[in-house]
């Protein structure tokens, strides 16, 4: 075990898989010689050389298409889209090409690739470089959607994504990149589609993803210490495959469900989860399920405004207390 940052865990996972499998290649803007603008691919170019770790022009269509063509013909490409907001520039590949090719070809072709992308707010970059767009990807059948909340998960889930035979959109949260935790040494792979239950309580179940996970945990600690509310905290880790078994089991246990979502309100992932719970665990639910989300607005740049709109520890505490009347 070593203390690693989230960003170093990303490059460690890529190095682990590139050493293991010569089919794994990496491409992206500034991803090779410069080590990535978020420094998530540092050292890979030096270790694996320019045939496997390639800089691309600012051509998101070419990056996505090249990754797809390579994936269909025997490679395991990892493509980087610098900011998840830029997925909008190449959404055709995410929505129409990667996820539909296996189906339309009746299983003749597969697209085993990983799109890594920096997601989320906290860097004060404004409306076109700060969005949480995991719910965009969740809406498309045929994709897998992964969004780790800590360095250890980043390593294990990225390794699994690279090995996965389906297209995976892998969201790395900008605001977590400097966070450190214990990360297993050596080969480390986590299964996709398994949520993590980070703490268990009896009064409330808080379901979170990515940067909302540490906030939900901190809120749960305060709720327990200062307000007599004991909360379960679930880190979804993957939106697809979705671990509904864990969600349903722990929602039913407390009967009070809270989702903490960084994506904007409408059609955020929490809406789907709340819908599943009400259909399949209705009799266990004791009160309205509460979605704590970013409001349905573009993101502002100023720190004071950004902090106002992204779900904060204080807001999570307030919403839980309000709903439970404590």
């Amino acid at each position: 075990m070593a203390q690693l940052t989230y960003r170093d865990a990303v490059s460690a996972a890529i190095a682990q898989e590139m050493l293991r499998d010569s089919r794994v290649v990496l491409l992206g803007e500034d991803a090779a010689a410069a080590g990535g603008v978020f420094k998530t691919t540092v050292g890979l170019f030096e270790q694996f050389g320019p045939t496997r770790v390639r800089d691309t022009p600012i051509s998101e269509l070419a990056i996505m298409g090249a990754a797809m063509g390579a994936a269909m013909t025997g490679l395991r490409p990892i493509a980087e889209i610098m900011f998840s907001d830029f997925l909008a520039c190449c959404w055709d590949y995410v929505a129409n090409q990667f996820p539909k090719t296996r189906y339309m070809s009746d299983g003749q072709l597969g697209v085993p690739l990983v799109i890594r992308t920096a997601n989320g707010a906290g860097a004060r970059f404004g409306a076109q470089h700060s969005q949480s767009v995991e719910n965009w990807a969740m809406a498309i059948p045929g994709l897998k959607v992964v969004a780790p909340s800590n360095a250890a998960d980043a390593k294990g889930l990225l390794a699994a994504s690279i090995r996965d035979p389906d297209p995976v959109i892998f969201f790395e949260h900008k605001n977590l990149l400097g966070n450190k935790c214990e990360v297993p040494d050596g080969e480390y792979v986590l299964p996709l589609g398994q949520a993590a239950v980070l703490r268990e309580g009896k009064d409330a179940t808080i379901i979170a993803l990515a940067a909302m996970v540490p906030r939900a945990l901190k809120a749960a600690e305060t709720l327990a210490a200062e307000h007599g509310i004991s909360a379960t905290v679930i880190d979804l880790r993957c939106l697809v495959p979705l671990d509904t078994k864990t969600i349903l089991e722990h929602s039913a246990r407390t009967g009070r469900v809270f989702t903490v979502e960084e994506n904007p309100r409408l059609c955020g992932w929490g809406a789907e989860i709340v819908s599943i719970i009400q259909e399949e665990a209705f009799s266990s639910i004791k009160g309205p399920m509460v979605r704590i989300t970013t409001p349905h607005i573009p993101l502002p740049a100023a720190d004071r405004l950004e902090d106002e709109v992204i779900p904060s520890v204080a807001r999570i505490i307030n919403e839980v207390r309000k709903a439970l009347g404590k």
Partner: protein, 337 residues
Amino acid sequence: MSSIAPPPSAANIPEATRLELYRQMIEIRYCEKRAHDMFLQNLVKGTSHLALGHEAVAAGFGVAMNKDDYTFCTYRGHHHTMARGASMLSVLGELMGRQCGLMKGKGGSMHLTSAENGVMGSYAIVGAHLPIAAGAAWSAQYRGTKQVAAAFFGDGATNIGAFHEALNLACVWKLPVVFVCENNGYMEYTPIGAVTAVANPAADRASAYDLPRQLIDGNDAEVVYQAACDAYAKARAGGGPSLIECLTYRHGGHSRADPGKYRPKDEVEEWMKKDPVVLYRIRLLQAGIAEATLDEIDATAMAKLEAATEAAKASPPPELASAYTDVYADGGAAWRN
């Protein structure tokens, strides 16, 4: 049509190859006509974009390829799919939404795919497959297989960003990919000249990527074949991509819904005189190939078509359960546990 490449010396092309070019063109011609007839009989549902008139491009490139080369085509892709060896039955069956179809009815006319024949999909979002073909070429380069990828696309695709991004990346990475523009003069219903800054939408852009300007007669199967062989040899030798503009003409409208009435009558008549199948038959007869040889190819193709048509009509529709298969690699559609 300025500075169009002259026809190659026919003596360079062996007779067996010439007959194969002819056979491919005849089979595509017959099968596309049959597809059209079956629309009228409501046996083919949905849309379809026929390649009648484009046969020489498909035959020329198809015959020039190795078995393990990659083809990426557009929604107008029946001809390229057949030129790689997919059967008439599998193509007609897919158009009809039958179990015998190439993808058992899950893709339809616009997405013909035959991976075993190197047809890595037909792409219905204009331009999308050019970067994908570049990626397949990158893979071939990385694996050292000497395979070449070809992307076929219409004149309209030259005005979309993916065309330019793919060209640039392919040149920078020196990828073994051949970009083939089938310029039939019309971007769907609009003359390409009315919406394009240059006269030859692909050839006139080649210099922007430091590629030679290649403008050829896309209705001459041997011209196409020769250009294809040259581009493939260059790609296999590590010389990087080619961009080839083939001048051709649709015999019909853009799609099933389009009678193509926006095209001037004399223009249509002029191009019908340059029917690639008719011209090639005359060329072969003039070269001394016996009429009986060509008649036999025609008759064999027609017999294959009749058999394929009957077999496709007799084929059952797909199993309902297949609507839920092959979303993910585990064979199913499960997004949750």
